[in-house]
Structure formats: structure tokens, C-alpha cells
């Protein structure tokens, strides 16, 4: 037999051990709510296949151009390259944007290839969750109608995120690509007012409420009704609507999320002289990205920590905020920090505009069915069902405010469940795909390439025009350089111990303690390897093992192995159709 023929084997596994493996070993993909195959799209971009890279994103997250700008990037927090001794995480998000920036014009698939689900489905809300659900249901063959209360589709993407972070043309194009699948969009229709939920339920086979969260939360402190005080969400929505509110010279923003930062940066663009973001905790607890904090401060906005607002002062117009200083405590189970006010530390900070951007909640839609205490219909987080058959809820409307990527993932999952419950069959599943692979042309020296940061326009040019996009996008060369940094954690290296001659050349060439003299292994409940028991004594060595958690996929061990006993496979979470459509 000619052993030179490389036979590629591919198999799909639903074994919990393999899911467990991916969870630990491909941390970026596991961290993404939509399970975007990050190593794959970065590798595609490296190979210059921008279209393919974009498509690898779009098939699971639907709006790569949008997400490549404003995604909250849970993947980067988990990126192996960001481990303490390894440098900074790969700029995963901006590589996504680069795929969008440099791809050829994208044409979505048209009907005809779609599935057989013939039901009529109404989706309430054209935000990320609604659009995502519409997209998936349309591809399964359903006739989807979206009802949107506002004038334009996009939800928070359109109204909650300022243009200088997300240009409308990018958003419009990607929404358009979803609608092109045959989705009917009706804007300016407020469900519960213009049309009743009950009517929709009788007119459609299923109704999905994905109306988002549009009620700005307020602090419930005295003075919030003074002139010059704006709820953050209203503030950004008015700007998005083309009716920016007036701001004074000194603006205080209360809040710590992306909306607070957006409000502050918008206020600066509307002519404010001094803008400060006042937060209860400290900068280190902020959930916005480091880049966002840096750019905001670079524009001249200050962040003041350890302040809790007590009341807004002023006779009819707001004149200032009374703060009390706070003492930060431990992290609470919800990930936020306990904050205690320090008695006696009150002081007043002058301000002529105060923006309260502390979050938002869902606006109840009148409907039958079981509701929570604020009157919002309750849904099951797994099945998205409500107490009424045919009525579903999803996205922020169900969970409260979340991120765009979570909403898209939730919308897609809701679509899957709706299709399942309407047809009684399963359309698709997540599975672990394992195939033979080889080491790539990645060189160990690429691991030392510094993270390529997003170029931005100079702060002095950001205010005019007011909505100019701040981030310029990674040019091809930078994106390519950044793509080289990805370890490609979907590759799995394994020593065939029956062929290993224990020469230890792999250990000598290892970049870190990733190859171990093992005495034993400990398996997790799922059957995946959870720990390698190392030994320093030759007598006890039962195998030389690659610790895939420590492995940075540099390939050095494969290159130096004299007996070629280290195999490489590619392990990815993939979504696949089941049982035919």
C-alpha cells in the first residue's frame, strides 16, 4: 500500500467528551454565543479569501459587517493568545470587519433552495433577534412578516448605536441581505396599539415577540424631571432620528455601559465643552472594551469613578448632580461589584446637562398569556414558548438587555425551536466535526507579532462631520498580519504513543510546558481529558502527552519529531442540517 496518499477522514461527533474538548480547547468559538468558527474565518482571511471569511461568519452570525464593528467580543476575552505570558488576544472582531471591508459584493442566496416549512410567521421587532429569527425561518421556507414599530429596521443597531461607531450604510446592507430572502417588513406598526397580539395570533401560524428593550431605566432619584436631564436611550434615539437634543457646556453622564459612552461621545459632538462619565465603581469594572475607553478619553472625556448620584439639583433647569463617594466591595454572583456609599462624603458637581444611561427594560406589549410583574409576557429560555401555543418571545424582550451577538444567537435559536414545534421535526444540530489535518505554514515567529490595533481618525477630525466613522478598518496588510497571529486552536495535536520513541525532541522544542511526561490522566465526567498527571521520574512515565490546553499550536513538535508520530486533526463546532429539509 502506498502510504504517501493522504486520506482525509472526516467524522461528526455528538459525544459530550468532544463538546467538552472544544469548550476548553477552542475557547473563542465556545465563547461566542453564535459559535462563530473564528479560527476558520481568520485562516480564510489569511489566505486572502475575504468572501469565504465573510461567509463563514455570516452563516452563523448573519451580520459580520455590523458585528465587526460593535460586537462585545466575548471571544477576545477567552483568546488563548491573551493568556498572561502570551501577549494580547487576537483582534478577532476587527478581522471580521476586515473580511467585510475587503470582500466582493455579497449576494444572499435566493429562494428555491430553501426548506419546506410553509407556515406563516409574524415577528414583532426588526432588531437583531427579530432579524435573525426571520432569516433562519425564511431559509427554512416559512413566510415571514416582520412588524417594526419604528420607522427603520435594525432596532438598537439603528437607534441605540451612534453612526460614528456603526455607519448606517453597513447596517442597511446587511439588513437588506436578510430581507432579500423573502422576508416582508412592515415599519411603523406598533403591535399592541396599531394591531393586537391576539389578531396576529389568529392571522399567523406563529408569532414571535422580539420587541427589545426600549424603556430607559431611570435612577429613581429626585430631580430626574428637571430640564436638561435626558434618559440615555432617548438621547441616542433622538440623535439617530435626526433630532439631536441640545446639550449645554458641561455634561455629566451617569452610567457605565456602551450607551453611557455613546451618550458622552455624542454630547461632545453636539458641542459640549466638558463631558464626564461618572460611574459607581472603577474603570476596571467597566464592561466596555479597552479600545472604547481609550478612544473616549482621547477625545477629552473624563471618567470619574467611585461616585453614586444622590439627586439632581436645580430649580427648573438642572444645575448639578449631588454625588456621594462609594466604597467598592466584592464581586457579586451577577458579575457586578458591591458598591457601598460612604456616608458624609456628599458633594455637588456642576452640570447643565445630565444624561442618565443606566440601562433599559422591555416595554410591555398588551397580550394574553402569563406575564412578569412589569407586564411583559414570560417565555421559556430553552423553548422560547409562552404560556400560549403559537406565541413565542425572544431576545432582549425576553431576557432584558444583552449584547447584539447574544440577541442574534437567541433569534436564531428561537427560529430553530419555532420550526421544530411547528413541524415536529429537527432541522439542524450542533456537532463536533473532526477531520485529518496537517500543520499549516504558521511560523512560531508569528506568535511574536504585536496585536494590530484598529487605526482611528485623529480626535481633532472627529467632530466634523459629526457622524464620521471613527474607526478606519484594518487595511489588507494589517488584517493579514493580525490573522497570522491566530494560533488556530481548532487544530488538535496528539502524540501516537505506540510510535513515540521518547526522544523528547518535542519537549526541547516546545515553546512552553505544553508537552508533558505523563504518569496518568484524569478524565472529566464527559470523558474528556481534564488533567495530565506529570512525573519527573523516568520510571513512572507512561506516555509523552501534549496538553492541548497549554498547546499554542505552533507545530514545532511535529516538525522536529524524527518518527512522525504526532498527528494533527481539525476539531470544530459546526452546525449541520439533520434529516433533510
Amino acid at each position: 500500500m502506498d502510504t504517501n496518499i493522504h486520506q482525509t477522514e472526516m467524522l461528526y461527533s455528538n459525544s459530550p467528551a468532544d463538546f467538552d474538548y472544544v469548550r476548553v480547547n477552542v475557547p473563542c468559538q465556545s465563547a461566542c454565543p453564535a459559535y462563530t468558527n473564528i479560527p476558520a474565518y481568520i485562516r480564510s482571511l489569511y489566505e486572502g479569501k475575504y468572501d469565504n471569511s465573510y461567509e463563514l461568519n455570516r452563516i452563523v452570525n448573519l451580520m459580520p459587517g455590523v458585528l465587526g464593528r460593535i460586537c462585545s467580543r466575548p471571544c477576545e476575552e477567552k483568546c488563548r493568545h491573551g493568556e498572561p505570558e502570551l501577549g494580547k488576544p487576537v483582534n478577532i472582531c476587527h478581522i471580521k470587519r476586515a473580511a467585510d471591508d475587503h470582500k466582493n459584493a455579497f449576494e444572499p442566496p435566493r429562494g428555491g433552495l430553501f426548506g419546506s416549512l410553509d407556515e406563516r410567521i409574524c415577528i414583532v421587532g426588526a432588531g437583531p433577534a427579530g432579524l435573525a429569527a426571520a432569516h433562519d425561518l425564511a431559509t427554512l421556507g416559512a413566510k415571514v412578516t416582520i412588524l417594526e414599530a419604528l420607522a427603520e429596521p435594525g432596532g438598537m443597531l439603528m437607534y441605540g448605536i451612534p453612526e460614528f461607531r456603526l455607519p448606517r450604510q453597513v447596517l442597511g446592507e446587511e439588513i437588506g441581505n436578510i430581507l432579500k430572502l423573502g422576508v416582508e417588513l412592515k415599519t411603523g406598526v406598533r403591535v399592541g396599539k396599531d394591531v393586537a397580539v391576539e389578531d396576529l395570533m389568529s392571522g399567523y401560524d406563529a408569532v414571535l415577540l422580539a420587541a427589545g428593550c426600549y424603556t430607559a431605566r431611570m435612577l429613581e432619584i429626585p430631580g430626574e424631571n428637571l430640564v436638561g436631564v435626558y434618559p440615555g436611550l432617548d438621547f441616542v434615539m433622538q440623535v439617530a432620528d435626526g433630532n439631536p437634543p441640545r446639550v449645554g457646556d458641561s455634561v455629566v453622564v451617569l452610567g457605565a455601559g456602551f450607551t453611557a459612552f455613546d451618550c458622552a461621545r455624542i454630547a461632545l459632538r453636539l458641542g459640549a465643552k466638558e463631558v464626564s462619565i461618572c460611574i459607581r465603581g472603577t474603570e476596571q469594572d467597566l464592561r466596555v472594551t479597552h479600545e472604547e475607553i481609550f478612544e473616549t478619553k482621547r477625545e477629552g472625556i473624563s471618567i470619574q469613578g467611585l461616585l453614586l448620584s444622590q439627586r439632581l439639583v436645580g430649580s427648573d433647569k438642572v444645575e448639578g448632580v449631588e454625588f456621594v463617594r462609594t466604597q467598592p466591595g466584592e464581586l457579586l454572583p451577577n458579575g457586578r461589584r458591591r458598591i457601598e456609599p460612604i456616608a458624609g462624603s456628599e458633594f455637588i458637581q456642576a452640570a447643565d446637562t445630565v444624561i442618565v444611561a443606566i440601562g433599559q427594560g422591555a416595554d410591555p406589549i398588551p397580550s394574553p398569556g402569563e406575564k412578569d410583574k412589569r407586564g411583559v409576557v414570560k417565555g421559556d429560555p430553552e423553548t422560547f414558548r409562552t404560556s400560549l401555543p403559537g406565541l413565542y418571545v425572544a431576545g432582549d424582550f425576553m431576557t432584558g438587555p444583552s449584547t447584539v451577538i447574544e440577541s442574534i444567537a437567541a433569534g436564531r435559536k428561537a427560529a430553530e425551536k419555532i420550526a421544530e414545534s411547528l413541524s415536529g421535526k429537527k432541522f439542524r444540530e450542533w456537532t463536533v466535526r473532526i477531520q485529518d489535518a496537517r500543520i499549516t505554514d504558521r511560523q512560531r515567529s508569528w506568535d511574536m507579532i504585536p496585536r494590530q490595533e484598529m487605526p482611528t481618525i485623529d480626535p481633532s477630525h472627529r467632530l466634523h462631520p459629526f457622524n464620521i466613522e471613527v474607526e478606519l478598518g484594518l487595511p489588507k496588510e494589517l488584517a493579514h498580519e493580525e490573522a497570522k497571529r491566530c494560533y488556530l486552536c481548532y487544530l488538535h495535536y496528539e502524540i501516537d504513543i505506540s510510535r513515540c520513541i521518547y526522544c523528547r525532541l518535542c519537549i526541547d522544542s516546545a515553546p512552553r510546558d505544553c508537552i508533558k511526561l505523563a504518569e496518568d490522566v484524569v478524565l472529566s465526567e464527559s470523558g474528556a481529558i481534564s488533567k495530565i498527571v506529570e512525573t519527573g521520574s523516568w520510571q513512572n512515565v507512561s506516555a509523552i502527552m501534549i496538553d492541548n490546553e497549554r498547546c499554542i499550536r505552533c507545530g514545532e513538535c511535529v516538525r522536529v519529531c524524527p518518527v512522525d508520530c504526532i498527528s494533527v486533526s481539525k476539531v470544530e463546532l459546526t452546525e449541520r442540517a439533520v434529516g433533510g429539509i
Partner: protein, 592 residues
């Protein structure tokens, strides 16, 4: 001009490229015109977990020994280097890899061990090599680059020696090594900007001889054998003598000779005797265990009066002992080993240049005195590198030492003729009318076996007389003395003598009345000269690397009082400071 005298040490694990790095330091600094003496020690196992250390003493003045204290420690493996910390001089420098593969506890950390007076320079060696050359294998070269930058060594010197070393391995490997070196150099210049030192850059190295080459004791021996017209090398590998065989295996065929690896040491000495018997220069090199196996046939050479050159590269013993450690404990075996009264010539070089000259000389001696000549070196001398002007043997040194019989002696030829010197004219096979029987049995002047009391008395005496007469051709003990009486006279031999020399000169600089005597010819030895030296010393000190004092046993009786022995069997060289301390202690005791 400022003087420089620093000791640089590279320490790592087998496989880290420690020895290669040390070698490049020696070569580069030699190229730059500095005096260099280097010595490596490495693990006994062929591929194991052992520690490798290279030490290089670099100076503007001539250097004859290593010192205890290290001024610069380049650590390629911190766990190994920790054991070197006690040897660091005050205000020393430690270069280490600050991005090792794994995390270590405080106990295993080099940085935790060093005193605050030692300056730490950390660089990510493997990462630098990888970024520069795509492979971490050049991490030792990055350390050299950093060393050059920190100490103001011209990088060109390193680049030249790196090129010399790696050119033959192909463009790619050479390029990777040069890039790794440059990466370390550039990193250090950038990172340690305000901590760079100008140790070497302010010294005008042009003042010293740049035509020097780095030569190890073993290379010198091999080169000498080639220059002396060696035709055959027979041997069996053994540390630390193997490099001689490797060297000759490469070069001897180019000179028309042959290297034969024999089945063991007995066969090796047998073949050497056979070759010499037929008139060809031949040699073998071994170490203690192999030398012991050769004993019987060596005495056969003595009895049958066949020349042989046997090099015993001593190591720690007895038996397999400490294969990669140094010791001078085969002296008794070399001088006395073997059955019967078997006088032979035993000489020991004390430095690399002498390794060369005495090896050349050994062939002539063997031929002239028709006896095995044993050259005693040891691990420290064999593996030590010194930079020196390449030694060249004169025609006189290389000339055939044999005394051939007069034509008139034809037919009545007495192979073992008892002459005044004891030297019997030698014939070679094929010389018509000069045929004889070479036998290990006691024999008459004509070579006939004869066990009569008269013959054995006479011939034994003849063989001793012959060996004593060799004293005229053997190097006379050399004094490092002041005129007049001495408080302490230090006598030494072999590899330890460099340290003695430095200790004696240091003592003299301190105004102490201390002298030294170098003994090269250990058997026979120059009794009169040694006695004369001893007689002007209040104390005679004999430092050597064996337990009981084998030289002291050999020559101690020549002194009117007891000689003072200074012995060390740590497997490591004896330092000048160790000897100086003993000298000073003797003087103090003398005062009290």
C-alpha cells in the same frame, strides 16, 4: 590601558547548546585579541538530564588557569545554574531567559538565589530566536548577542566566528544563527540602554596578538601527531580521549595514515606495538580504565624494547569512576603499573602548547629509547581551550629518533646489545642480516630466551640504565623562582600547574618569598634538580588532583623534611585561590 580579567560562564542542560555557546565566546574573544582559557564540563550520560557548564577566562594579560569566581553567568537553564550561584563574584552579572517554558517556584528560581549586588539581565531568549529565525534553537545565540551588547564586545567578532562554525552546515542554518545572535544583540541594546557596560569596548585589543587560534589540549595532541608523521592510530573510544580519535579519524587519512577502531584497548596497544615494531609511528589514546587494560602489553613493549606512544587522558577513578570529571590519579599506574621491573618514560604536559610539543617529542623518545612512552593528560587539559599562536614542530623535533645499527654489525646483530647508555641499535623487519626475535620472555643480547640469574640481572639493569639515560632528552624541571631562599616552594605537574603558576606569581606580587617548580618528566625524573630546588625551600607544597599525593609519594623522599600535600578530588580543577590560600596558611603557621 585598562586591564580586563573576567570569567564568563555558560550553564545549561544537555541539549541547550551550552558548549557551543562557550566555544563561540572563546573564539570571538580570541579573535578580538584577548587571552582566553576555556573549560567545559558536561554530564556523564550521553543524553540525559545533566548540567553543562563552560567557563571562559578572558583577559588582556596571559592566562594560565581558571579561577573559582565567575563574573558573568549566562544561564540557559536556571535550575542548573542555581548551583553556580555560590561561585559568582561580587558585583557579577547574570544573564537569564526570562521567558522559560514553565513556571517555577521560588526554590527553583535563579533570580531568587542571587544576591542583590548581582545585576540581573533577563531576556526572552527562545522568543527572540523564534521571532528572528523561526526556531528557538538559536536561543543560546541570542544570549551571546546580549552578552556582546552588554559588555561592549564588537558584534563582528561573534559574527565572524559564528560564520566560521556554521558555514559548512548550509546557508539556512548559518543565517538562523546569525539572526538569533543579532536579535539578542539588538534586544539588549534597546532594553538595557542605561545598563550597558563598556568592559571590552574601552580596551584596545589591537595591542595583543590576533594571530592566535583557539586550541584544546586534545586538538593540540591530534595536530601534533599529524605533524609528527603518525601513520596509524589504534584505539577504542573513551572519555576524555575520544576527541583525539575523532580528530584523527577526520584528518589522518588526508595525510595518508589510517585510524583503526579496535575491539578493545588490549588490541589497540598490541597494534601500536606491531606498527612500531615494523617502523611506523603509531599511537593510542585512552583513559584510566583502558590504560589499565593495556598494562600487560605495555610491559611487553618494555621487555621486547618496542616503541609505543600511549596517551592516558586521566579522569576520575577508580574503575568507570567519574567519566567526565578531572583527576590526576593515574600517576602511580603510569609510572609503576604492570608486572615486573618495567621502567618506562612518563611525561605530562601542563598546558595546550606543551600538549603539542610533548606529543611530537614522544615519538622521538619512543624510537630512541625503544620503549613505550606514556603521555599523561587529564580531562581539564584535554578539554581546556587556550588561545595561542599555532605551534609548529621543527624538523629536528619531528626527526626519527631511532639509532640504527652499523652495517658492520650485519649478521652478528645483537638486537639487545648492552651499550653504555643501554640503547641497543634498532633494526626493522626487512633489514637484511638484522633479523631477530622480539620476545616477552627474558632474553640475551641476541634475543634468545634465557632465564639465567645472570642474564635477568644484567638485562634488567640495562633496561633501567636506558631509561635513566633518557633524562638527557627529557625537559628539565622549570623554576618560577625568585633568587635565594624560599619560604614556600610549590611543585606541580600536569593540568594543575597553571593554577600553581598563577598562585605563585600572585604570592610574589604580594611580596611573599614563594617559588614554583614544574615537573614534566615524571619518570624518569630529574632528581638532582628537584633536590636542589627543595633544598632552598622552607616548605615544599605539592598540589595535585588526587587523594593521597601521588607526585608527593614519588618525589617527596628527595626533601629533607616532609613535603606538604594539597589534594583535591572534587572532579574539578584546583583554583589558584585554593593554592594561594594554602601558601598563605603555611606562611602564617611558619610565623607562629
Amino acid at each position: 590601558m585598562p586591564k580586563v580579567d573576567i570569567t564568563v560562564e555558560v550553564c545549561g542542560m544537555a541539549g541547550d547548546g551550552t558548549i557551543a555557546a562557550g566555544g563561540l565566546i572563546n573564539e570571538a574573544m580570541s579573535l578580538g585579541g584577548f587571552s582566553v582559557l576555556g573549560f567545559d564540563s558536561y554530564p556523564a550520560e550521553i543524553r540525559g538530564f545533566g548540567r553543562c557548564v563552560t567557563r571562559s577566562r578572558i583577559g588582556t594579560n596571559s592566562i594560565v588557569a581558571l579561577t573559582d569566581k565567575t563574573h558573568v553567568l549566562i544561564s540557559l537553564d536556571d535550575k542548573q545554574s542555581i548551583s553556580r550561584v555560590p561561585f559568582l563574584a561580587e558585583e557579577s552579572v547574570v544573564l537569564f531567559d526570562n521567558q522559560p517554558p514553565s513556571y517555577v517556584s521560588e526554590k527553583e528560581s535563579l533570580a531568587a538565589e542571587i544576591e542583590p549586588g548581582t545585576a540581573l539581565y533577563g531576556l526572552p531568549m527562545a522568543d527572540l530566536a523564534t521571532s528572528a529565525a523561526g526556531t528557538s534553537r538559536g536561543r543560546n545565540l541570542t544570549a551571546l548577542g546580549a552578552f556582546a551588547a552588554i559588555f561592549g564586545v564588537r558584534p563582528d567578532w561573534f559574527r565572524e566566528v559564528i560564520t566560521g562554525k556554521f558555514r559548512s552546515k548550509g546557508e539556512r542554518i548559518l543565517d538562523a544563527n546569525l539572526k538569533s545572535f543579532d536579535a539578542g544583540y539588538v534586544y539588549a541594546q534597546k532594553t538595557f540602554g542605561d545598563r550597558l557596560r563598556t568592559v571590552f569596548s574601552i580596551v584596545d585589543a589591537a595591542a595583543t596578538d590576533k594571530n592566535k587560534v583557539m586550541l584544546s589540549g586534545n586538538q593540540a595532541i591530534g595536530t601534533a601527531a599529524l605533524d609528527a608523521g603518525l601513520r596509524f592510530y589504534f584505539g577504542y573510544p573513551i572519555t576524555p580521549a575520544t576527541p583525539i580519535m575523532e580528530f584523527l579519524a577526520k584528518h589522518l587519512p588526508e595525510h595518508g595514515g589510517r585510524v583503526v577502531q579496535m575491539e578493545d584497548e588490549i588490541a589497540s596497544i598490541g597494534a601500536v606495538l606491531g606498527a612500531f615494531y615494523s617502523g611506523a609511528r603509531a599511537m593510542t589514546a585512552t583513559s584510566g580504565p583502558g590504560f589499565a587494560l593495556m598494562t600487560e602489553l605495555t610491559t611487553h613493549g618494555i621487555m621486547a624494547e618496542i616503541p609505543a606512544v600511549i596517551l592516558d587522558a586521566q579522569r576520575g577513578g577508580p574503575s568507570t569512576g567519574l567519566p567526565t570529571k578531572t583527576e590526576q590519579s593515574d600517576l602511580h599506574a603510569a609510572v609503576f603499573g604492570g608486572p615486573g621491573d618495567s621502567p618506562r618514560i612518563v611525561i605530562a604536559p601542563t598546558n595546550v602548547a606543551e600538549c603539542y610539543h610533548l606529543t611530537v617529542k614522544s615519538f622521538q623518545l619512543a624510537e630512541k629509547y625503544q620503549t613505550p612512552v606514556i603521555v599523561l593528560t587529564d580531562f581539564y587539559l584535554d578539554n581546556r581551550v587556550e588561545n595561542l599562536v599555532m605551534p609548529v614542530a621543527t624538523e629536528l623535533e619531528k626527526a626519527d629518533g631511532s639509532v640504527y645499527p652499523e652495517l658492520s654489525a650485519q649478521n652478528g646483530y645483537a638486537r639487545y646489545l648492552d651499550t653504555e647508555s643501554g640503547i641497543s641499535p634498532r633494526s626493522l623487519p626487512g633489514m637484511e642480516g638484522f633479523e631477530y626475535v622480539a620476545t616477552g620472555l627474558e632474553h640475551t643480547e641476541r634475543g634468545q630466551p634465557d632465564y639465567s640469574p645472570e642474564i635477568h640481572m644484567k638485562m634488567t639493569e640495562k633496561r633501567f640504565r636506558k631509561i635513566y639515560s633518557a633524562l638527557a632528552d627529557l625537559p628539565v624541571p622549570e623554576e618560577l623562582s625568585l633568587d635565594g631562599e624560599l619560604d614556600v616552594g610549590v611543585i606541580g605537574w600536569g593540568s594543575t600547574f597553571g593554577s600553581i603558576e598563577e598562585a605563585v606569581y600572585t604570592a610574589q606580587e604580594k611580596g611573599l618569598r614563594v617559588g614554583g617548580l614544574k615537573i614534566i618528566s615524571l619518570y624518569p625524573f630529574h632528581e638532582r634538580e628537584i633536590r636542589a630546588f627543595m633544598s632552598k625551600c622552607r616548605h615544599v607544597l605539592i598540589p595535585e588532583l588526587n587523594f593521597a599525593g601521588q607526585l608527593a609519594n614519588l618525589i617527596g623522599k628527595l626533601h629533607k623534611g616532609d613535603v606538604v600535600r594539597l589534594n583535591l578530588v572534587t572532579g574539578t580543577p584546583m583554583s589558584p585561590a585554593f593554592i594561594l590560600a594554602r601558601i598563605e596558611a603555611l606562611l602564617q603557621a611558619g610565623v607562629a
